[in-house]
Symmetry: C3
Subunit: 345 residues, 3 copies
């Protein structure tokens, strides 16, 4: 699709600063955007990237100034982004062209050396390579790619346009590519931001039962080679999990957080969004990680701290009632000392 | 169904105080109950409502006294309720009358302007309105109602009699209407209390992948207009989520808790049952909320406290080892002061 | 399958200490192993069991000494175990022999008094007894046994060889028998250890929506009679849950942990692996349990402590800012006292 900045500004009620005849062919995140792309700044954290992005135009809030770039100025860039995404990525839900057993839509390409059980659905434009096993009840959305020798256990759902590598194992109930949790004006109007990216899962990844991996808002949520994820884990939109990382059950990783290689996260830990975790970091079970962690650190606690410090802190926490008692007795003793000294002078 | 109090008392081995010929036609919670209804008091918290309920009769424990109402006195009201519910709501699991592709039972009404993929099951008495999209593997139980333009992604399950509004989105693996976790004598006999209510999801709600919403024990679990729920969230029986609230991934909300409008809950937080959260409350990630929160508050921590206080408390927690050291040195210094003063006198 | 120790050692590049002609017919855990079995020690915790095991041979690390048993010494016993398991339990994913509606593979035995909905898959060698109800989208793997009157709600997946008792209820999206999270050299090579055990669910168990129960690595994960498990709970490989225990939503129980009878665990609590929880223990919501708990205890907190102590500790935590203030003022007052006394002498 091609639209000029003028057409886009008119759709969202915005003002163009720069050349209104600039042609936009796609929408991308600020790091990936290049020629022909519109990007956006919805979070002030990313304002500094306005100078370095290679995007042809940027959707910004009023007051963004002194920039030698094409801008579309709107009241709420995130809300406007939603409208523009709807224009560029109209969602398709057309009924299947024909049905069989399993239900393979016309235009899907399935290797004759793949095993497809009854009750599987494979959408138009999907490609399933040799050696793949799709168990009963698996859903493969349109234009999904599943590479050689991967196994999808019963009732796995892979939404449209996601990409699964070689020798990947997805256990029952895994959901890959559901919409990220992106709403403008949360708690007020909750305006849905279309989630038009995808999920890329590289070779040799295994994902545990009922884990959920949301598609990118734009661009991809990316699970790199050799990563192992346990059951009931939540991976939000645009998260990146570096090679060989290990994520234990019930962990939650919020949007746009990036993990390095060989990160290990204990069960039920939670990570906020938009942070970076270095290579070889270890995060203790039930931790709450609220900011960047540099490589090779071991952290625990909620909020997290270095693991050794956390051990000392936890030892004190259980001593708190005794500490409070000591403090009260000291107060009394100091008061008495002060009186005694006072009476002497 | 119609039963007299005498018949009901005989079923559960109870004693009628009042008119044994009172006719009961339904069972309802103490707030909703009216003429013809039997209600119950299983939790002493609700004893004060015994005077104001409009129920025709109340199932109570021995020793409930001085009440000018029809009572059925039983040893364990919650266990007895289970037996009475089994009588009034016999569970049906009859095999389908006929099958097709998708499997639409006789007596289901599906708009010709709905899109129904292969592998969908729609039960008898269900109604699916125009513009609805049911993806492969979706299960629509008997007497379910799905209103216009809602989208159910692959492998969603909606149990019998639940109600889904307009423009609702349910992502893959969502379960709506599973039995609430209600057992009498937990840890001993674990007697199942039939969960015979339903779930009502209002217009414009979106629910993330693999989230579970249990049906009411009696009456409904209710997700109001515009609410957005992320992945892997647990909503227990008879919870109410007020309009436009936002619930982030992996939150758990226990039975009968009521949220006001525009409440925002951070990831992995947990709320105990039977509490009320006011409008516009914000609850921090990983919090544990154990009692009512009044409107417009921001709370954090487990157990929760005002967010500003929690920030101060957390700052101290990480200082605990230093505080303990200071305390030990003070103890020594005060001891020396006492000795010095003692030796002077 | 029969293999000599010599053949096994040659497969994994190990050295036999003892009789290389010893014949191995199966692999079992150290407690269950008997004549003809090979067992292993991957965790030093279990070294003390080397003398008492009845296994015919043991897979050990270099340096394990002074033992009058047949040993296979390898660099990394856990990695080697993986290879040996692959040999003894080759995984089958052959396509179904024929398909129908529902899809019942040849060689499955289904009672004529069971109700099987459309879209159900039942694998070869599975046995489904009378009174069982399998809702649409249920997957029953090969050689699974489902005993009388159990109900499996839509889209439940039961992997190969698992065993379900009488009157069991599995809610929508439950996964029984997915692979345990077992990888050698985590964070480095993440070598998958085949999970070749099974899950046994005894009579009268109920499991909530989207809960996951992993199969044993070897032997079984075991949910005993009368246990009730809520939604979105994670039960790892080789866990044992004792009779009548109650597990509330979003709890996570790590591998090989054993619970006694009538244990009650509050929502979102987490238990580490390889610990033992005694009969009648109660564990508070959001607790983190890191070591054995003896019978009849009530514990809370993360890390857990006796519940009464935890109440006192939590009361102090919220007082921390005041305690810190008091401490600072005491420091100043003691300093002044010291100066005053000093100036007097």
């Amino acid at each position: 699709m091609k639209k000029t900045l003028k057409e886009i500004a008119s759709l969202v009620g915005g003002e163009v600063l720069g050349n209104p005849r600039t042609v936009i062919t796609n929408i991308r995140g600020i790091d990936e955007a290049g020629k022909g792309d519109l990007t956006f700044i919805a979070n002030p954290r990313y304002l500094k990237k306005i100078e370095t992005t290679r995007a042809s135009a940027i959707l910004v809030s009023p007051g963004t100034k002194g920039v030698n770039k094409n801008l579309v100025v709107v009241k709420d860039p995130y809300v406007s982004l939603g409208k523009i995404l709807d224009l560029f990525y109209p969602e398709e839900h057309a009924p299947p062209k024909h049905a069989g057993l399993p239900y393979i839509e016309k235009g899907a390409v399935v290797s004759k050396d793949a095993t497809i059980y009854p009750g599987v659905f494979i959408g138009e434009g999907a490609k399933v390579e040799r050696g793949v096993i799709l168990h009963p009840g698996v859903y493969v959305g349109r234009h999904v790619f599943i590479d050689e020798n991967s196994i999808l256990y019963p009732n796995v759902s892979v939404y449209r346009r996601c990409r699964i590598g070689k020798r990947v194992i997805l256990h029952s109930g895994v959901v890959v590519g559901s919409d990220g949790f992106g709403f403008a004006r949360p708690g007020r109007e909750n305006i849905k931001i279309p989630q038009v990216g995808y999920v890329q899962i590289d070779d040799d990844v295994e994902v545990g039962a009922n884990t959920t991996i949301d598609r990118g808002t734009l661009g991809k949520t990316w699970i790199q080679k050799g990563v192992k994820i346990d059951n009931l884990v939540q991976i939000a939109h645009n998260v990146v999990i570096g090679e060989n990382s290990v994520i234990v059950a019930q962990v939650g990783i919020s949007g746009s957080t990036k993990l390095g290689k060989s990160v290990i996260i204990g069960g039920q830990a939670g990570l906020v969004g938009h942070i970076t975790i270095g290579d070889h970091v270890m995060i203790g079970a039930q931790s709450g990680v609220h900011e960047d962690v540099s490589p090779n650190q071991v952290v625990s606690g909620s909020p997290h701290m270095p693991h050794r410090k956390w051990l000392r802190v936890e030892a004190c926490v259980s001593q708190l009632p005794e500490m409070r008692k000591t403090l009260a007795s000291l107060l009394q003793r100091v008061k008495e000392l002060e009186q005694a000294l006072d009476s002497k002078s």
